[in-house]
């Protein structure tokens, strides 16, 4: 099992993400790329700024990848999130998983993306021709009782 995760302000090297996966026991590799779209909720988007609590985001991303490996039997999990100023068409997030069985690759990949949206301390500000705003997000999973 291998886990490779990082947070970066540089363009995401999707080849590196993909090549972090795959072994003779794997029957499937899945790569997911999240991309900055030109349009959101009917408004034309001109760009996007991603902010992160960098050190915590690195830690949470590593946790999510490790949980995916354990829960779905993923042999390799690679996940990277970009921060800073992105343009339309830029890759903001990339997730690659490899698994022995094919259905698991879809389940594991989807789970990583969903968890990352749920708990990665990252925020995005959308820019429009006439202004910008922080996008609504999800309340992070704060524990009920003190640790």
């Amino acid at each position: 099992m291998s886990i490779e995760t990082w947070i970066t302000t540089e363009p995401i090297d999707t080849g590196r993400v993909l090549s972090a996966t795959g072994s003779p026991d794997d029957g499937a590799i899945l790569l997911f790329l999240g991309i900055v779209r030109r349009e959101n909720g009917g408004r034309e988007v001109t760009g996007m700024r991603y902010d992160a609590y960098g050190s915590m985001a690195e830690r949470v991303l590593r946790e999510i990848a490790g949980e995916a490996a354990n829960t779905y039997g993923a042999t390799h999990v690679a996940a990277v999130h970009r921060t800073g100023d992105l343009e339309i068409g830029d890759v903001s997030v990339a997730v690659a998983v490899s698994t022995p069985h094919r259905a698991d690759a879809f389940t594991a990949g989807r789970w990583v993306i969903d968890e990352l949206k749920r708990r990665l301390p990252v925020w995005k500000k959308e820019h429009y021709v006439d202004g910008s705003r922080w996008l609504d997000g999800s309340s992070p999973p704060v524990p009920e009782t003190s640790p």
């Binding site: 830690r59 990252v122 925020w123 922080w134 996008l135 609504d136 992070p140 009782t145 003190s146």
Partner: protein, 81 residues
């Protein structure tokens, strides 16, 4: 004791500062820290009084008891991906 409070995204814009160091009494909780930060002036008062928080990079609740040197982050609703 001293704790460092980090602000991100919308909260940073509201308060006009990326972080602030505050003095808290022994036994203080994260909730106390938030109260002290919000007492630092009108900009800080615009922060929510019950934000999600992380203590030393781990999500925690507001009753978490702080230690000297802790890093407390106020976490706006997250929107990665």
């Amino acid at each position: 004791m001293r704790v460092r409070v980090l602000l991100f995204a919308l909260y940073r814009d509201l308060a006009g500062a990326p972080e602030i160091e505050i003095e808290v009494p022994a036994g203080a909780t994260a909730r106390d820290a938030v109260r002290i930060v919000r007492g630092r002036g009108p900009a800080f008062e615009r922060l929510p009084d019950q934000p999600a928080i992380a203590v030393n990079e781990v999500y925690a609740n507001l009753e978490t008891v702080l230690s000297d040197g802790d890093e407390v982050a106020l976490i706006p609703p997250v929107a990665g991906g």
